[in-house]
Amino acid sequence: MSRERILGAVVLLALGLVPLAAHVMGEPFTITLATRAAILALAAVGLNIALGIGGLVSLGHATFFGIGGYAMGILASHVQNYEPMFEWPFLFEGSTSMPFIWLVAVLVSALAALLIGLLALRTSGVYFIMITLAFGQMFYFFSISWSAYGGEDGLSIYVRNGFPGLNTLDPIQFFGLCYAVLCLVLLGAHLLARSPFGLALGAARQSPDRVQAVGLDPKRLRLVGFVISGAITGLAGALFADLNRFVSPTMFSWQTSGEIMVFIILGGVGRLFGPVVGAAVFVMLEHFLGDMSEFWHIWLGLLLLAVVLFARGGLVGLIAGREKAHD
């Protein structure tokens, strides 16, 4: 096993064990923090497929995060307020079932990613960065003025949605659920990176000419990669909304997009466990630096600068070495 793998396994194991220890010690807040880290990591795993494999620098992944969040908020709020979503062609009252909400979140974010991708992937480089950013802003402003679902105030869901067989209001059970989803998606991302599709998408980043010359369409590969990426981030959005029992336009803001990207850079671009390390470190920094200084953003900024300038390959790269695993 490569050092990177070992490091990844250790981090993932720690992320699973810390909440268990906290549960035993009666520290539910630590579990909440770990849940937050797991969900943010999931969002970043999604972005890492577009960014790390496909080289698509999307500064608009908050769009999908927000769509996932609102999928949860809208479905659950109709149940909460006893106002059916629609009565024709059949009565639909909304839903408080997590699996159904996840399905909707994934499908709607995938659809959004498809539409955005169709336009944005006509361009590349800086144009792509800015267009994805602008689409995010478009959704942000729309969500602020969409008064039917709370506008800027957002939507509060008083009771966390349900999952068959689990009491999701119990922090450790909800953590277990998010952790399981994260592990499954990580496994999926691992397989995807090595699958024919992952190979082709990676080649489309490194040498689009070559990909064309062997008869594959780099644009279509990127579009599919972008859609998968958006769908995963959308799923993370639905979980994040359930963690907070609340959604608001902040989920769509461009700072959110920036932060998701920060997790990846902190951890290491294109590395399987990079997003997990990045999100865990970010959540810890937010927690401890936030306690130490009112101006903790300065320190966060400096740390980020240092990583970008001096630790290329992120923290995983720093510990496990620059070269990525090849097999």
């Binding site: 144009y127 802003q137 300065i298 900024g301 290329r312």
Partner: protein, 306 residues
């Protein structure tokens, strides 16, 4: 809807467009010459506004405030270029986005640390305050006319600088072929610092000019930054002409959309619903404009073919 009101709104759109141009010109210049995407450009706008407000508070002079804004933003730009940006030129866009995102955090919280959390005061100078009557009986604030004038003068200077001066020749050479200007013996490091400081100064000037009629506060730069991005994407990244055309298009769309969309919806909707729907769509109008331009020309109106 009277012709006077329409004319006034067009002037407003023009004024906001001209200010956007000052921001967008710096961004597009920096991208064109150095290939750098700079998210922290909005922070330089904020630096300009704060420097102007602080100087005006001490000296009471608006002219000195503008000078201070230019100087502070240029100095901050040059400093940041030397310390950080310089290391990013040969990096990919991702690293640039991240590093300049980090700079935003540092600038914003740093400004709050120095100046506190409350907005600062910066006012229009006595000589430029109040409205004037334009031909056709349009009452229009003198200061906004001044802003339009300043913006156009700066735009003209910029075009002259790029077309006619030695620096301009180097800038154009740098846009076309980086190795060639190195071969010509131009000190690239100095040229880059200069261009970055120039872009920063333009942003600082915009911040100071706008600061007098808006609120000088932490975080004021980011909304403008995103608009400026939309502008240069529409105009074509790297093109100063594109930035000018894009800025005015965005300024007009944003202003006129905000006024007319609710009224259009008012023709067939309840007034309250119409204002809300119209306002919601108006806030998205420039992004729709951008999407339309890109669907038609993926590299913007004046962009080089990729």
């Amino acid at each position: 809807m009277t012709p006077i009101l329409i004319a006034e709104q067009v002037l407003n759109g023009l004024q906001s467009g001209v200010m956007l141009f000052l921001m967008a010109a710096g961004l597009t210049l920096i991208f064109g010459v150095m290939g750098l995407i700079n998210l922290a450009h909005g922070s330089l706008y904020m630096v300009g506004a704060f420097a102007a407000a602080a100087t005006a508070a001490v000296t009471g002079s608006f002219v000195l405030a503008l000078v201070a804004a230019l100087a502070a933003a240029a100095a901050a730009g040059a400093l940041v270029e030397r310390l950080v940006i310089r290391r990013l030129y040969d990096r990919d866009h991702l690293d640039q986005v991240l590093a300049t995102f980090a700079l935003i955090l540092i600038f914003s919280e740093g400004t709050r640390w120095i100046f506190g959390s409350f907005p600062l005061y910066l006012d229009i100078p006595e000589a430029l305050s109040g409205p004037v009557t334009l031909p056709g009986g349009i009452q229009y604030p003198l200061y906004r006319l001044f802003i339009i004038g300043m913006g156009l003068v700066v735009a003209a200077l910029l075009f002259w600088l790029i077309a006619r001066t030695r620096l301009g020749i180097r800038i154009r050479a740098g846009e076309n072929d980086r190795e060639m200007i190195a071969a010509l013996g131009v000190d690239i490091a100095r040229l880059y610092t200069l261009v970055f400081a120039l872009g920063a100064a333009l942003a600082g000037l915009a911040g100071a000019l706008v600061g007098a009629i808006q609120s000088v506060q932490v975080g004021m730069g980011e909304p403008v930054l995103i608009l400026a991005f939309v502008v240069i994407v529409i105009g074509g990244i790297g093109s100063i002409e594109g930035a000018l055309v894009g800025a005015i298009l965005v300024g007009l769309t944003d202003t006129l959309g905000g006024i007319f969309l609710p009224q259009i919806f008012g023709l067939f909707m309840e007034p309250a619903a119409a204002t809300q729907t119209g306002a919601a769509l108006a806030s998205m109008a420039i992004y729709v404009l951008m999407a339309a331009v890109l669907a038609w020309k993926p590299t913007g109106l004046f962009g080089a073919k990729s």
